[in-house]
Amino acid sequence: MSSTRSASQSTGIEGLDRILDGGYPAGRPTVIRGASGTGKTLLALSFACRADGKEGPGVIATFDESPNALRDSIAALGLARAKSAKQVTVVDLRPDVEQLIAGGDFELGGLRARIELALKKSGTSRLVFDSFDTLFLAFDNKARIYSELKRIFEWSRERDITLLATCGEQTVSLYGTGIEDYASDTVIRVAQEVDNRIMTRTLRVLKCRGRSHSTTVYPFSIGAKGLSIRPITEARMTGKVSPRRLSTGIATLDAMLGSKGVFVGSVTMFSGQSGTGKSLLAASIAEKACASGRKVHYLAFEESPDELLRNTQSIGLDLKKQVNAKRLTVTSMRSVELGLEEHLIQIMDLVEEVGPALLVLDPVSALLDMGRSEGVSDVKSIILRLMAFLKGAGVTTVMTDLIPDSAAGVSRMDISSLIDTWIRLRLVESNGILSRLIHIGKSRGLPGSAEVKEFLITNDGLTIEQPYSGPSGLVFGAEKSAVRARDRREYNKRAREIQRLELELEHERLTDERQQTLDRQLRKQKLEELEARIVELREVQGLYPTNPL
């Protein structure tokens, strides 16, 4: 007995199982309380229809909605994918509005007999009561309904039935104390919270007798595949580290990152003002990854998928081809539509569904737009959780960060500590021409280049060039060729002058040498003449006697 008491029954929702330490307490009643539209029925349906190897589907007793409406909800939420969901038994326990009540003494005998029958037929111990508080509206004798419900809760306990009962908030306000307070061990409250005109669904475990449970308010989301909830346990740093690299699609940028690109499974952020080419760089990486056979998902916060495909076409990136080849998927998400937590949940769901090797978030700074009342630190914590999740899943992430012109080049994100490779882009104006500059802000584990390079967007794609460094400093962009030509002209002019002077010098030197030779020859001749004259005179002198006088 004690072993069944501590056991759990999966809720059919992975995140909720983790919050409840395994699931709803097996063999005990659990009450889910919440106003209309908070998702309580969905929680109940997820439990009844969950796919389970051994056990068949549960039994749903409906007190409010028609069985057909419930079956429609099951089908609409994709819960019916499991074969068992189609065979789920729905017991119609809606009070007959036309029935007359004569005499206050009655029991809910039909309810119990029919549930017992349904449980026996389906061979399950999982039971759902949807909106059981409707009974209080149908019968005047509230005290009797109270005691009858309590008996049924007790009976479910004795029979080891895991009962999940949903009710509205009004039982508490109308009848003093809610039935859940004495009849059940576990109470979960679901609510809708509206903040900054954005609705967030939340879930909180109010009590869970005799076991540990999380006390936090958990946001959750309802998507096409049912209910999704993500407890913060994802924030564990358990990501696997890969030595493999992913090319950026631009050889020069790869070279700036030590020749091969970014690490697989790392987070890269491109920061820059509007028009610096962040999205194009991200698209370039996406295209390259697709071309190498990887699966890529591009999540655009500010463009529609078609706009993205068209805009990247202009630089010769054929993303459409990759979409057709089913390697690339593009979805758009409007940042104003959902609360932060719901965004996080949806992105995580998406990643699990698509299973991409590379995820592009363009621009991740769009998440700031909804964080007005939640603040930048909330956005940071959301992104931290997202990064941890993505790293845990081994997904390489590329995100862009739009820096507003008013921010003077400072990123509003303040999350550079979470980023492995941070590539910064900026616009520089000189002589009326804007140039795009790129440099590596940081690159964990890579020999990042310290150079500022020029980033060019051409019809043929993206290129990164060395800026022109002349006597007047660094020159970028279109000015580069003009300055280069001017510098070349001046250089050549000087070179020609030097050449001319050198020739002149040579000529002078030669003239000088020739003159010197000539002079030497003349002087030598003169000397020789003088010497010859002396010899001649000496010879004539020899004819005379010594001292004839």
Binding site: E98, L100, F106, G109, G110
Partner: protein, 98 residues
Amino acid sequence: MTSKTKRTKYLLTLYIAGLTPAARAALANLKTLCQEYVGQECYEVEIVDINKNPQAAEDELILATPTVIKRLPPPIRRMVGDLSGRDMVIAGLDLKQT
């Protein structure tokens, strides 16, 4: 004599979940009222214990017990509780004094 053929036959089904105090009270109240208003030969009460025959409760979508269903004469009427509200039962089940 002619009135005998004209007299309407009442067919009533009482659904109970075991012989609870409410079930006993309902049966007693129903019989008393029928004797009084319909007459000995003109009514028939079938008792269904849904603890023994839960499928019957499912077929008739019985929620609370005791529930009495008047099948004949039409229209079909349902009534829940121990049937201690005399006037309500007479009006609800359309019992005509003969």
